[in-house]
Symmetry: C2
Subunit: 254 residues, 2 copies
């Protein structure tokens, strides 16, 4: 099993290392990951700058390739340039922090898996539900099992899996829920500050606001101590709105 492994926290993160160690047990793992953290880059790709690929070593042996670009760049370069054979699966993660609800539209972790899917490979985005003191061991072991399951069952074309794992001990996790993307989101605020020269600047900050959610929502699953798996696609069309819009009867002369 040829596994293309990437992330958005960067090649030096512990989350990708945990996956590397675990996935090596079931296949040939090739890392192509951003050289620096790329959180919240969404589905950015690099058109205006040259991309550079570097070999990264760990403990004296080859570990993987770093790219001065985004998670989506890494998947493109990995699949199209660096490796001679296409991967059997693309895995992105383990992200430090959840990717749930509306906020997945900003996620570099999810975008890497989306890119894998666009290129035709079964793809997984893996996130751990904490931003502090992460223990990646269960999440990595679960991902290994899920890769085998995906290999056995196959994913429909155009579908990726967005996997969120609660940051609790394995014994406390109640099971797996197939979920839908929830409506919760980060409610933004900007902190206004002044730099040492007196000029104003802003930091984006805020907090998660849990909307009232359907029982099937990804956030409900994780809050209820379940692993959440949401099938995603990249068709953004709102089919339900097409008929209503046709009735608007928009003309060129409006």
């Amino acid at each position: 099993m040829k596994i293309l492994l990437t992330n958005d926290d960067g090649i030096n993160s512990l989350g990708i290392y945990a996956l590397y160690q675990e996935l090596k047990k079931i296949g040939q793992v090739s890392i192509v990951a951003p050289e620096t953290e790329q959180s919240a880059v969404g589905h950015a790709i690099t058109l205006s700058n040259p991309l550079r690929v570097r070999e990264i070593y760990r403990d004296g042996s080859f570990y993987g390739y770093s790219v001065n670009g985004t998670p989506a760049d890494c998947v493109k370069l990995g699949a199209l340039v660096i490796f001679k054979e296409p991967p059997d699966i693309v895995v992105s993660g383990i992200n430090l922090g959840p990717n749930l609800g509306i906020d997945i539209i900003y996620s570099g972790t999810v975008s890497a898996a989306t890119e894998g899917t666009v290129l035709g490979f079964p793809s997984l985005a893996i996130s751990l539900g904490t931003r502090r003191d992460p223990d990646y061991s269960f999440a990595a072991a679960f991902t290994k099992g899920l890769c085998l399951k995906v290999k056995e069952k196959g994913l429909p074309p155009g579908i990726l899996l967005n996997v969120n794992i609660p940051a609790i001990s394995c014994a406390e996790i109640k099971g797996v829920k197939i979920s839908r993307q929830g409506k919760s989101r980060f409610k933004d605020t900007f902190e206004k500050r002044r730099d040492p020269r007196g000029n104003v600047y802003y930091w984006l900050t805020g907090e998660i606001v849990r909307e009232e959610e359907n029982e099937e929502a990804d956030t409900k699953a994780v809050d209820g101590n379940y692993v959440s798996i949401t099938p995603l696609h990249f068709d953004l069309t709102s089919y339900l709105s097409i008929r209503g819009l046709k009735e608007w009867d928009i003309s060129l002369k409006d």
Copy 2:
């Protein structure tokens, strides 16, 4: 009508200027746009850098605000910080080049309108189907009419309109089609080069590949000389895949 106007080509682009001139006729237009080109940034937001807002003047009078960030940053800052009153509509464009098919997942123009929708405002993404010698006049006039239509009819919550206008004369345009996102995409290749010091780097390049499309596809509409309007949302769930995945019966022990 309070119009928040942004784009991904940057505040100095001609496309946003054409919209500004036209939309001034129907409302109060406030520009908040990236200070530099931000094409293909997807739905990136800036978490790791301070954002700065600058006043930009044209012909001796105030034109708008520039931000050292992404289109989504601009919409957030415009709606949450810069203006006291919320906009009635968010308009993003006019983009130099189409935003059709799968490639809309990379689009800064579309992401700005998505951000407007996330924040609760009716939002439009406007693109012109050429990258050379653009004539924005019809696209700008059409957008003005569409803004009035959106004001009259209202958009359902969570829905934005992705508008693509063929780069032909107004007389050649056959009408308006309400479409769905097509399957065509940019087929990537990487050009391998060496810098003056002999180090390898890559440029992302490639060409549009037109997939065989459904008659309803956005690409079909534009290729047939129609204005294409696709209703989009940010729920990426593939509902069709949920049942099949439930049957996988994934356990924690896999």
